[in-house]
Symmetry: C2
């Protein structure tokens, strides 16, 4: 039975949120006040975590999908003993504080994922639960359940309106993720007013239809919430949704159940009145009663004990299974198994012609054996994306160790799930779809970049040269739009060996995601005895083919399939007595990160006759070709036709490139 002390603990969560938002004159008090009871129950009676070591592998994961309620999380972290002093709560939403407006992974100890964009946390949690299940199946041994934890989240009406919640919930139900437990803040309020104005679906029935185990409780009844979580623990086969009927801004005499309480301070008067109503001193801010702190701080001792017991178990595991233990520790440290790079294949010219998507599939399968926790799949395009890991099974309800995930036609959930897998740690996640459908998962890609997660995207069918499927399936603006995202590496390799190099770079990169942009159509495997080795690809751009006499007059810069066009044009130009250098530039971001000296070697400042060639919008290329140069791009949507017809229709032929290069040269000469 809940006691008065319980209620004071809960009200401490409420008042801290009110005070911090009021002090910042900005923020979201309503949700923390509404979900304080449920969060208190979860964090003090169930959550297995060690505030002194937020990186403990086997901790329960907690996701605040409704990230706008960040003050609830910060209060919980502070009170349970994480390294987050009260001073930080007082600096809520201020420059340089550990308490930004929405929770940020990597910044605040104990924050498991960056949330705020609705629905993302929901999908992250599904990814975490999948990671837990996979790692348990892979590393646990009889008597050694070294990986065995729950994933919890607090989710909101907003999360459930977002499409990504549908996708992720449907997949979680399909997979039967029994250790996933979501507390739904069913407060009936959205920004525009009551949810009645637009959100009248039967959420419980909807989730039952997905195969979830659904309970509905009074979210202000701590005992009812306790019982529901206990019952959820008993359900092994289905993910759990516990719908907590709550009142937003609970306790506020004038703003409870009011949309205004969602995203604005209550106002000083209302804060005082609310405190009065909650039996709280009205004139004190950020007050944490000693006995309240004591209750929360039990987490330190309890968590420490649990962690220690686990460490003892893991120690014995390491003795019994030294290889497994070493591998796991290595992976958790963000390192890959030693020598995995040796498995990356080299392709000979005679292996071609070969689409880069096919080369990618070969690389994936060549390295799969060396990277036993590489897990991924496609949003129902595996045969096209070449993402199947042959012989490694399908991840499913009855096959937790399978490494191939059938994400379904759920690009957005895939993006959020890959983030969740990376956040959990231990896995090397990748996911594929057509490049044009990167748009469907873009919000999750952005968060991967923001969180600096090592996720790899396999985006194939990378240009209008996919042909017959037409403009709906032909990316045109996508390379530019993706390059615009800070910290996302976008790599468009020109042949099989550049593809291998791209995989190598992508997997070695630990501080951000990499997008592999791959062709549908076959491309020659370039003869590296004649051309420069593909090693330069890792630098983002390199001299692939020097001008015949070593003194280039014009630079041809290209990516992917257009590199071959540049090579042909180089020959044509040579026949006309013009010396051209071909630069392959698979990754702008990687090239930009090189020292000036290297960049100037590849693109000598003195050579202003430059032509960039890429089958996409020309946006952004100007910085590499300069004012004197030109860009051959495709600044319009594509068309449905066999791809060779399109190359002619859109002027992407060696002759056209040659002509344009000559025109640029002439203009520069006459300038």
């Amino acid at each position: 039975m809940s006691t008065d002390l319980d209620h004071r603990c809960i009200n401490t969560l409420r008042t801290l949120a009110m005070d911090a938002v009021q002090k910042a004159a900005s923020g979201h008090p309503g949700m923390p006040m509404g979900m304080a009871d449920a969060a208190y129950v979860l964090w003090t009676r169930f959550l297995r975590h060690d505030p002194q070591d937020p990186t403990w592998l086997d901790r329960d994961r907690f996701v605040l999908s409704a990230g706008h309620g960040s003050m609830l999380l910060y209060s919980l972290l502070h009170l349970t003993g994480y390294d987050l002093p009260l001073e930080e709560l007082k600096a809520f939403r201020q420059l340089g504080s550990l308490t930004p407006g929405h929770p940020e992974y990597g910044l605040t100890p104990g924050v498991e994922t960056t949330t705020g964009p609705l629905g993302q946390g929901f999908a992250n949690g599904v990814g975490m639960a999948m990671a837990e299940r996979f790692l348990a199946a892979t590393f646990n041994r009889p008597g050694f359940s070294i990986i065995d934890h729950h994933t919890y989240a607090i989710i909101s009406d907003g999360d459930l309106m977002e499409g990504i919640s549908h996708e992720a919930a449907s997949l979680a139900g399909h997979l039967g993720l029994g250790k996933l437990i979501y507390l739904y803040d069913d407060n009936g309020i959205t920004i525009e007013g009551s949810t009645d104005i637009t959100f009248t679906e039967d959420v419980a029935d909807r989730f039952r239809a997905y195969g979830w185990f659904v309970q509905q409780v009074d979210g202000h009844n701590a005992d009812a919430v306790t019982e529901a979580i206990e019952t959820a623990h008993g359900e092994a086969e289905r993910p759990s949704l516990i719908a907590c009927r709550t009142h937003i801004a609970y306790g506020s005499p004038n703003k409870q159940d009011d949309a205004e309480a969602h995203g604005a301070p209550l106002g000083e008067d209302e804060v005082a009145r609310t405190k009065e109503q909650l039996g709280w001193p009205a004139d004190v801010q950020f007050w944490v009663p000693d006995d309240v702190r004591e209750v929360f701080r039990k987490a330190v001792a309890d968590g420490g004990e649990a962690h220690e017991a686990w460490s003892e178990l893991f120690g014995r595991y390491a003795e019994a299974y030294p290889e497994e233990a070493a591998l796991l520790e290595r992976l958790l440290a963000g390192e890959l198994p030693e020598g995995w790079q040796d498995a990356v294949p080299t392709f000979g010219a005679s292996d071609g012609p070969m689409a880069t998507r096919k080369a990618s599939g070969s690389v994936l399968n060549a390295i799969a054996g060396k990277l036993p926790t590489m897990v991924g799949g496609s949003a129902d395009l595996a045969p096209s994306n070449k993402t199947m890991l042959d012989g490694y099974g399908v991840f499913g309800a009855g096959s937790a160790g399978g490494r191939n995930v059938h994400f379904g036609v759920r690009e957005h959930a895939m993006g959020g799930i890959l983030n969740g897998m990376a956040l959990h740690g231990g896995l090397i996640p990748f996911g594929g779809t057509f490049l044009v459908f990167s748009d469907y998962m873009r919000p999750s890609v952005r968060l991967a970049a923001l969180m600096e997660l090592p996720v790899v995207y396999v985006w194939t069918h990378d240009s209008v040269w996919i042909g017959e499927d037409g403009p709906t399936h032909q990316p045109v603006e996508h390379l530019a739009a993706l390059r615009a995202i800070p910290n996302l590496h976008v790599v468009r390799p020109a042949d099989a060996n550049e593809t291998a190099a791209a995989w190598l770079s992508a997997l070695e990169r630990r501080a951000g995601p990499t997008a592999l942009v791959l062709t549908r159509q076959s491309l020659p495997v370039m003869d590296r005895d004649v051309l420069t080795g593909s090693g330069g690809a890792a630098r983002g751009g390199y001299v692939l083919s020097e001008a015949p006499d070593g003194e280039p007059e014009v630079l041809l810069i290209a990516t992917g399939s257009e590199v071959h066009l540049a090579l042909k044009a180089q020959e044509c130009l040579a026949n006309e007595g013009v010396q051209a250098r071909v630069v392959s530039m698979p990754c702008w971001a990687c090239f930009d990160a090189q020292p000036t000296r290297y960049r100037d070697e590849v693109l000598p400042p003195g050579i202003t006759a430059r032509l960039a060639i890429e089958a996409g919008v020309s946006m952004g290329w100007r910085r590499y070709v300069g004012s004197q140069g030109e860009v051959m791009g495709i600044n319009h949507f594509g068309a449905s036709a066999p791809y060779k017809d399109l190359t002619k229709a859109f002027g992407f032929t060696a002759e056209a490139v040659t002509e344009r290069a000559l025109a640029v040269l002439e203009r520069v000469a006459s300038a």
Copy 2:
């Protein structure tokens, strides 16, 4: 009861699809073969349309959401008498044909929307049904049901896995769109195999939870489908889902129920064997028996008759309600009510400071009375986006004439629904969210641009200057990423009057969407007695403030809030004796469309000392500043802090701009 002739009609649909895909050596035969029965029933027994006039206002709308089954639609259009000769079917997926890989709106007569990216058509249909209901409520009069039609769609497993289907279905159920009837091709097959591998939700229960009326039938039983559609017609309060259990590639001895039949030709042998099994001559291609053609072609007479009866009704309506009729005709012709522009307000300097989102709200409300079919709303951010049309009611189940739509936290569905509204015709649709969440609706925005639809997006909170909400809510890459989309106008006005000009341009634009990118924070209303008038904004870029002596040495180019920074820097530079011109450039695409002469007047080629200033990634600006110029951008994610702290932290102060401008000048001088 279905007859042998019915079956031959249905098999004609199957064989045409097989033949066209086989001839093109590319395409999707499985779906047309599986849904031929249901499509036949719908198109010959229910669909009210006039093949001779695909623009007839009161026709039923048909959406092939599963756009990969395009050959089914092309066959239906050809057979029922649209201007789509058999020769076009033979040129399936060829350059310049009317039969591209996926249906394209504006290209093929009778194609109501461009589909292929899954889930989009689902949402389009919801938008069409909303448009129908709104127009009926607005224009119908007792005895004059001039607008009264159904919206049908064929949807697939893939559509239902996509998150947008959840969002749109939930809203459609909430709105009780009784005239929306979707036939679900429940064939149990996706590209990666059986849907059992990833899609095991109970779709029927899920849709019941949304408030839909669900029926389940054998999709190969034409009579059962007929009965189900009839029953759906009797259901006025709920949208209908008719789940048709089908076999993909029905009739193919070796490929029926096989994922391979989804997206590849059956092969010549299998085509022949399938024809045999269907009782079809195996060696004839593109064969349409005369009696079959006769059945389908009845649509011409029936449709003509229905259309004529409607025209007669509309004629009498026009006599009784001449103003309404004139307005409706004008809107359908793509023109706006005469003189609406006069209602666009002008703002004085004393009206400021004012956020451009607020100015947008003022403009919207000032013109709302003149544009009675302007309908829109926000994805649950109306109070922030300032999208409410005051006094015009809420569009809902019981208020069909309301002009404010509560889209809910459903950005993606909002995008698809706005497209559907625009496609239906008669409406002027707009929708808002935060700029950062344009990512959530990007696939629909792309399609609006591709389809050349006049949709207006109101994207507020347009930069890191939103402050405390932090990097998850701070757009950085979005301006660049959106500018990359062909045919999308991205307009970032610098003050209230540029905002008014932006609305004017957006609504006058008929051949594509416009994104209004608006500030959260207040900005001065520029004094147009001192500065150039805001009329230049319509040209995308204009000289806002000439150098004091009329002979600029350096050009400061900026958009939105940064224009004010440029103006301040101009003063600082003047104090140092440097002549700077300030160019406001709210819309790149509009500026690029101006004659060279105008562009050279605004950005004189002779002045190479140029500085662009914009609070976002600098990508793409190089083409305006040239090799000698510089770009002040923000090429990293933002941070949570009060916005004035961020301006200092990120170096966006008048002093910093002045310094950079001086540095550019110096470099140019010494070059």
